[in-house]
């Protein structure tokens, strides 16, 4: 409750939450909000192709004569679905790895941290690109690839927290009265790191959405769904030369809108749950370096 009050007092956080609410509503109520059903076949005349906005089509029509506004509203579903599931999965993997590596340490912990280092060095987007190109295009494949490559920072974060928590009084006491490792992790360590994990997961949603849109723009989106990235792929191929800004700008601005919302929320959460760490790791070099150094010290 205290945290909620702090969140509501932060204008950036509230702004982010309101911005996200708009997108969530669009995704949930898409069938009622969208003026047309994008799945429905439409009879088009050549004039309808990339037709500019008018009273019937507020954002004009795309290269197949479909209503851009409807596509945009339905596109929110794809982005949010990919963002939330991929972020949830990477949160799950990262937390498990971080807990194991931090609490048990030893050889397994070291091996896991080397894996983290490895994934940190290999360039993400090219790797996703080759995997999807070979494996095939599909929504769940994209979610899998993003989450399997995106858990490393959460793992580092959880591990470094666990390392300090497990030496604290209450954990030592629990152990001395005979509590098992699993019980200590679940009852004592996990609740302590959870707020940090959630703040990180919100930021991860925006990262996942950006990755999905980049992949879709590069022609590797799910062919059965129209995401914002894919709209931009179509628009870039066909609408740039016709100056059809109504097809180009909305999907791009929608991506910026939703990821900015999530960044504002995530940043605010991070400030609340961990006042010592003022910013996200990408903005905070020292935190990143400290985490890397800890991993190395543990490896010795």
């Amino acid at each position: 409750m205290e945290s909620l009050k702090k969140f509501l007092r932060n204008p950036m956080g509230v702004l982010g939450a309101l911005m996200l609410l708009v997108v969530v509503c669009a995704a949930i109520f898409a069938p009622w909000l969208a003026p047309y059903d994008p799945k429905q076949r439409v009879e088009v005349t050549p004039e309808d192709i990339l037709a500019p906005p008018d009273a019937q089509h507020l954002l004009g029509r795309d290269d197949a004569g479909k209503d851009v506004l409807s596509l945009l509203i339905y596109g929110a579903r794809v982005s949010l679905l990919v963002g939330f599931t991929a972020s949830f999965m990477s949160m799950f993997i990262g937390t498990t790895v971080g807990l194991v590596a931090g609490y048990y340490g030893g050889r397994i912990g070291n091996a896991l941290m080397r894996l983290v280092d490895f994934l940190l060095v290999v360039p993400d987007l090219p790797l996703m690109l080759v995997i999807i190109a070979v494996w095939g295009r599909g929504l769940w494949k994209i979610v899998m690839v993003i989450s399997l490559l995106g858990w490393t920072y959460t793992a580092r974060l959880v591990r470094s927290q666990v390392l300090s928590i497990k030496e604290r009084q209450f954990v030592l006491r629990a152990r001395s009265i005979g509590a098992g490792s699993l019980r200590i992790i679940v009852r004592h360590v996990f609740p302590q790191v959870l707020p940090l994990i959630i703040a990180q997961a919100v930021l991860d949603i925006s990262v996942s959405i950006l990755y999905e849109s980049s992949l879709a723009f590069l022609g590797l989106g799910d062919p059965t769904l129209v995401s914002w990235g894919m709209m931009l792929n179509f628009a870039f191929e066909r609408a740039v030369s016709r100056q059809a800004w109504w097809f180009l700008l909305p999907p791009g601005l929608a991506i910026v809108w939703v990821s900015l919302a999530l960044i504002l929320i995530g940043n605010t959460l991070d400030e609340i749950v961990n006042p010592r760490l003022r910013t996200h790791h990408l903005f905070d070099a020292r935190r990143m370096v400290a985490l890397v150094a800890e991993g190395e010290a543990a490896a010795e």
């Binding site: 080397r114 280092d117 490895f118 940190l120 060095v121 290999v122 360039p123 993400d124 987007l125 090219p126 790797l127 690109l129 080759v130 995997i131 190109a133 070979v134 494996w135 095939g136 925006s206 950006l210 849109s213 980049s214 723009f217 590069l218 022609g219 590797l220 990235g229 931009l232 870039f236 740039v240 100056q243 800004w245 180009l248 791009g252 991506i255 910026v256 990821s259 900015l260 960044i263 504002l264 940043n267 003022r278 910013t279 990408l282 903005f283 905070d284 070099a285 020292r286 990143m288 370096v289 890397v292």
Partner: protein, 337 residues
């Protein structure tokens, strides 16, 4: 930590990463369902000769990893003659296979294009680092002012901005004023000398600008928080108390100490930069490695994809190692102990 020990460990890690990438690269293109090599070899568009060449090139009649049968027959060396060792041997000879789409040598294709991507990535990054450090330093120094808030907001905004979308916007804005696609105006050739290179330079402006804008804001945010931390240290107070000018405090104390984490972050950001290059080259049809990958995806040209990925991964690994080595030079603590 002893310095040579540290360097050695970094090198071992890089070599390990490199081997892991090689194994992965082989694994991905050979073991996954739908094996692209077998798919392509059964394609009716392929001539018999081409099929044979691919078969020999990939060692398709051999076992994938290890031949247990031959080992049982006592042929220990022969047991290692597999698709994997064939792949590694070809790789060591610099043979990355033949493009399915153009029938050209992949190594030649990459060699022809690699410099175009290097120019783009380096150019964009150098501009971004210089601007990002300067603006980040100012923001940290003017912490809490309107200027700082504006810089921070811009940083957050551009973090949410997809690289390819920024590219498209710049492309629309600059249309008619600057060349927006390709590497040179058609008709001009390298033999034309200065005119040609000036033309190439003009074609480079928009892609480099896109890269620079996206990555500048990333460095601004890193530098800002890094300097902000340094400015709370006691030695800054001491320096101010000594009566040093603002410029000297920032330059000699804040900047120097904020540099160390910057070096590590630049190396880590390099991986993202390469991903950005793929998007930027796609938007502006800049014929580098990124555009090559985009086209290879469209044409399902697997040898080209595999080769390009390998090249990018190796460059990023090398850049990280370089940053680690630079770190040992910059950070006196590494050698002192």
């Amino acid at each position: 930590m002893e310095r040579s020990n540290y360097i050695l460990r970094k090198i071992v890690f890089s070599v390990g990463t490199l081997i892991a990438v090689l194994v992965f690269n082989f694994f991905l293109f050979r073991i996954l369902p739908g094996d692209p090599v077998k798919l392509i070899i059964h394609s009716p568009r392929m001539t018999r000769e081409a099929q044979e060449r691919i078969r020999a090139n990939f060692g398709l009649d051999k076992s994938v990893w290890f031949d247990v049968e031959r080992l049982r027959e006592g042929d220990v060396l022969g047991a290692f003659d597999s698709q994997f060792t064939t792949y590694m041997r070809n790789l060591l000879r610099g043979d990355l296979g033949i493009s399915f789409a153009t029938r050209k040598d992949v190594t030649e294709l990459l060699a022809e294009r690699v410099w175009r991507t290097v120019v783009l990535v380096l150019g964009g990054n150098v501009i971004a680092i210089v601007l990002g450090m300067a603006i980040g330093l100012i923001a940290a120094w003017r912490r809490g002012t309107r200027l700082d808030a504006a810089i921070l907001l811009w940083g957050l905004f551009s973090w949410a901005l997809p690289t390819f979308f920024l590219g498209i916007i710049l492309l629309i804005l600059a249309r008619g004023h600057l060349p927006v696609g390709g590497m040179a105006t058609p008709g001009l050739r390298p033999e034309d000398g200065l005119t040609y290179w000036l033309d190439v330079g003009k074609h480079l402006i928009l892609p480099t600008l896109t890269m620079a804008i996206v990555y500048t804001s990333e460095y601004i945010l890193i530098m800002r928080s890094s300097v902000m931390e340094v400015l709370t240290e006691d030695y800054i107070l001491t320096a101010k108390a000594k009566g040093l000018s603002t410029l000297r405090v920032l330059r000699d104390h804040a900047l120097k100490n904020a540099m160390l984490p910057m070096v590590t972050m630049i190396a880590l950001t390099f991986g993202y930069t390469v991903g950005g290059a793929i998007q930027v080259e796609t938007v502006f049809s800049w014929p580098g490695i990124g555009r090559l990958m985009y086209e290879a995806v469209q044409k399902r040209d697997y040898p080209v994809l595999q080769g390009s990925f390998l090249l990018l991964a190796v460059s990023v690994i090398a850049a990280n190692l370089l940053a680690d080595l630079l770190y040992t030079v910059l950070d006196p603590r590494v050698k002192a102990e």
